[in-house]
């Protein structure tokens, strides 16, 4: 077990790209070696130690590496990109593309994250205490397949395009979402406890979405199927009654996406 502690040294002006802040690249390295790993600012690279103080505790076991970022990393992009194992804990906020393409391991953020957290995630866990920006667990531009597996938990709210193109895995949002949650979803599960603005499940053909709060503008291509109670999805027990819809028939006559909407908060639907 190795613990790597990164303490931000100073305010960052131009945003950094630090895909090397990643258990896969830290494993088995000394503090000095880690401090010399390159991070990008504009077209130049700098050693990590220019921006972070690096401390390493424990042995040099490669099996398990925990990275703790003690402080704000909201202008640091791509932390944990593609990581396959280990753990990253950020005691603050994180920049864009946190855990993009992650295959395994865990990331825990005590603050907020910018857009694109866990883009095209394959496995592992991303847990955000605060809020997230746009494109949580989403597919890259033009791609119809996003998250394939793993789990994203957001205790706050997320913005637009949560789980776009999702094929598998689970996303839980305690707070609210904005537009196009689960757009073009083809599998997997999204549960939103709070409200949603619009476009929920738009263009989805399979998979499941649950919205606990009010949907301000319902997607027109969904057909009402009836009321269900006592739902348990993704290991989560959902209290109350839900209206079940199938769609999105705007995108295909054969669509099989399932949308559950809480009855209490959406009486007029």
């Amino acid at each position: 077990m190795t613990e790597v502690i990164l303490i931000p040294k100073r305010n960052v002006d131009i945003k950094l790209e630090a895909d090397i802040i990643n258990p896969d690249s830290f494993a088995g390295k000394s503090a000095e070696e880690i401090g010399n790993l390159p991070i990008w600012q504009g077209p130049r690279t700098y050693p990590l130690c220019e921006f972070f103080e690096v401390k390493v505790n424990g042995g040099s076991s490669e099996a398990e590496t925990i990275i703790r970022i003690k402080g704000d990393a909201s202008r640091v992009k791509r932390i944990g990109e593609g990581m396959s194992a280990g753990k990253i804990e950020i005691e603050g906020s994180a920049g864009m593309h946190l855990g993009t393409g992650m295959k395994g391991g865990e990331i825990f953020v005590s603050g907020d994250t910018d857009s694109w957290p866990a883009m095209e995630m394959i496995g592992g866990l991303l847990h955000i205490k605060g809020n997230a920006g746009d494109h949580v667990g989403c597919a890259y531009r033009g791609k119809w397949h996003g998250m394939k597996g793993g789990r994203i938990v957001i205790e706050g709210s997320a913005r637009h395009q949560v789980g776009g193109g999702m094929d598998g895995g689970e996303i839980f949002v305690e707070g609210n979402v904005e537009g196009f949650c689960g757009i073009r979803q083809t599998g997997g599960l999204i549960i939103v406890k709070g409200r949603a603005l619009r476009g929920v499940g738009a263009e989805m053909t399979a998979g499941t979405i649950v919205i606990g709060g009010k949907i301000e503008r319902f997607s027109p291509g969904f057909e009402y199927m009836g009321i269900e109670e006592g739902l348990t999805l993704g290991g989560v027990e959902l209290k109350g009654k839900f209206k079940k819809f199938i769609g999105d028939y705007a995108i295909s006559t054969r669509a099989k996406g399932v949308l559950y909407v809480a009855v209490d908060t959406n009486t007029e639907l």
Binding site: D134, H135, R159, H160, E178
Partner: protein
Amino acid sequence: MEVLLITGSTIEEGRLAKGGDKFKAEYTKECAACWIATVDFVTLCSPEKVKVTSKNGKHSVVVYAKCTDSVRPGNVFMPKAIWTNVVVDPDTLSTGSPLYKGAPVKIEPTEERVLSAEDIVLKVYVRGQ
């Protein structure tokens, strides 16, 4: 009064902008304008000028108020120019393009002066320099 702001081209705006006349009074007259639906206009007591304030209250701009039946009540139109951009929301929803159509703003009658395009730059954007 809270309204949805729609911005867009007008032919005169196009003519003046492409003609390089952004510093002319005529350009200010054409573009520093907010077209308000008759009902709303009357509710605001038919003001000569209105102050338009962005959703978060951070920015505002004074423009000439104009009455029109071309927009529905609750919507206003401003020609695409520097004045309208003062209050356009810089959030792009991760698309690169700000919300030029349908952004919520606040409008209220005002007696303040309408700034020229140059003054917007010098007095609003280059504060304190």
